[in-house]
Symmetry: C2
Subunit: 332 residues, 2 copies
């Protein structure tokens, strides 16, 4: 194996075979992937979730993870948010000619670490190489399949008035970390990128009545709550004081002119649950190592249907708008 990727590795000949066997397989390999068919043959429950995401984050490595961490966490989380037990992932990597093989190995190691934590297998994949300058380093797509958890019925149509809104931890950590890295700012911030499927399984163990589960990624909590308010045709009211946000995220957001509620999270969820089950759901989240700072932040209401309002510490209510414009490009 060369030290850098060449076009040959993407051409479907012996070099591509060697990349697979010598570089990719030692990290994310298993018996199913080893068959190297055009596709993997799998046994599933028959009632499944299917999702896909491409990852183009810049920088590729950041405090708390890398594009590899995101590529697993993001897709596992999308499955979990559909009410599914994540099981199988695909990995499709587009590499730039000249990309260092060592860096690819580091990314693959992060992918495998997150996959192991989530308990999912890579079962099928693809590698393409684009000539120098035609892709920025590496882009990764992962698609995922999960078995729907028995009794799960996640849908905005199940949202009722008076439901409680829970977030599983502090908002904006990933977005703020990427911003700090891009601006070469010193900080103790760390991305929250992590698979949440175990947390979601804990939640379903205590209640099936979860109407909405969402991971507030691009566009942050602001985008997620606005989408749900619209789709569920309810008003949403949250309490500013109850939303966990780290002081350092607040400070960095102020300095750079961002609203932390619009910053991406990659290891947090938002849940809508009936009032009488909110305590149990919150306890289930807090029982997970990633959910220690979870909090009930608000509820659904019949006022200002389709909109999101936030009670400020002074008692006034400000509208939380759907983010517009660029926010932060290449955040995931």
């Amino acid at each position: 194996m060369n030290e850098r990727i060449t076009l040959a590795e993407g051409a479907g000949g012996s070099a591509g075979e060697a990349l697979m066997k010598d570089v990719i397989f030692p990290y994310i390999g298993n018996d199913i992937l080893a068959e190297m068919h055009d596709g993997a043959r799998l046994k599933v429950s028959g009632d499944i979730a299917f999702t896909t995401d491409s990852y183009v984050v810049s920088p590729r490595f950041f405090p708390g993870g890398s594009i590899g961490t995101l590529a697993v966490s993001g897709t596992v989380n999308d499955l979990a948010m559909t009410g599914a037990k994540a099981r199988f992932l695909s990995a499709a990597v587009i590499l730039e000619e000249g990309f260092p093989v060592e860096e690819l190995k580091n990314i693959l190691a992060d992918m495998q670490k997150a996959a192991k934590y989530a308990g999912v297998l890579f079962v099928t994949g693809d590698t393409k190489v684009a000539p120098k300058g035609k892709v920025d380093g590496v882009f990764i797509n992962t698609a995922g399949i999960g078995d729907i958890i028995e009794g799960a019925d996640i849908s905005p149509k199940n949202v009722k008035l008076g439901m409680k809104i829970i977030v599983s931890g502090s908002m904006g950590d990933h977005g703020a970390t990427i911003l700090a890295a891009r601006h070469n700012m010193k900080s103790n911030l760390k991305s929250d990128a992590a698979p949440l499927n175990k947390m979601v399984e804990k939640m379903f163990a205590v209640t099936k009545n979860i109407a909405v589960l969402r991971d507030p990624t691009r566009g942050g909590l602001a985008a997620t709550l606005n989408e749900i308010a619209k789709a569920a045709n309810v008003g949403i009211i949250i309490d500013e004081e109850k939303i966990p946000i780290k002081e350092e995220v607040k400070g960095l957001s102020d300095m750079l002119g961002f609203d932390p509620l619009t910053l991406a999270n990659e290891g947090k969820l938002v849940a809508f649950v009936p009032q009488e089950e909110a305590d149990a759901a919150l306890a289930a989240i807090k029982a997970d190592e990633r959910g220690r700072d979870a909090a009930v932040i608000g509820e659904t209401t019949d006022k200002a249907v389709g909109k999101v309002g936030m009670r400020t510490p002074l008692g006034s209510i400000r509208v939380v708008e759907m983010p517009r414009g660029i926010i932060v490009p290449r955040i995931c």
Copy 2:
């Protein structure tokens, strides 16, 4: 909607929502995609195939199709080659800032045309935008899920000595078409890019004893047969005179110094079937509009195990090597 993609469409706010609703949905939308969850919830047989491919072809439009045609055909074909009835696709699009929306619409139209022909639905998707110069126009990933066809058991381990090798039509058309386009050569060549799932379903209707099905894409027939010879631990012998190759593909290959057996196909398959079922399988392929020129081109043998030999018209045998090196970059 602007005439060109901006970074805002990739940021998870209102612009991304508009891109989805105004541009993407009118082409590839359906009731499942309309739910716009983090993932799609699907009913499948429980015994499924799962595959992924990224498409980075250059040029994006070529005689016979586009990156959109490939993005559907390639993934549907990978499912078919696993012995599955293709059902659901994901679509993850990475766009370059400034990409013309009109061109995206043309690509989406080709995706929908191929998906309709194949009878598959797009059920989940993702859109990212990379800044100008960070991705070359548009890259598309599609992953796919299919139900395994009852009785299908595609695996090199099922290859026996004396099995017949069938190709479903002329070799090298896609690769030669892309080469002609890149070299600005006038030609009547057309890419063969097309979904083959209907052809495969016709084959399984006449025999379940198909040991291998492969679409000879990158690396062409030469790579595919070498991989199978190695995986199945048999020798493969093919007849040069029996391999359908268009005169124009031969001429262009000669001129540019390529072996047509190493050129990619995007709408052809190779099948390994027992001798006594070869006629029935061949007839099933020929009954499909894409299989008119199908031919039996060789058989498996116990000589030169792991290698591929080709009988020339003069009676000698030349070794068909696994392609090495770059061949043709960004062919799919």
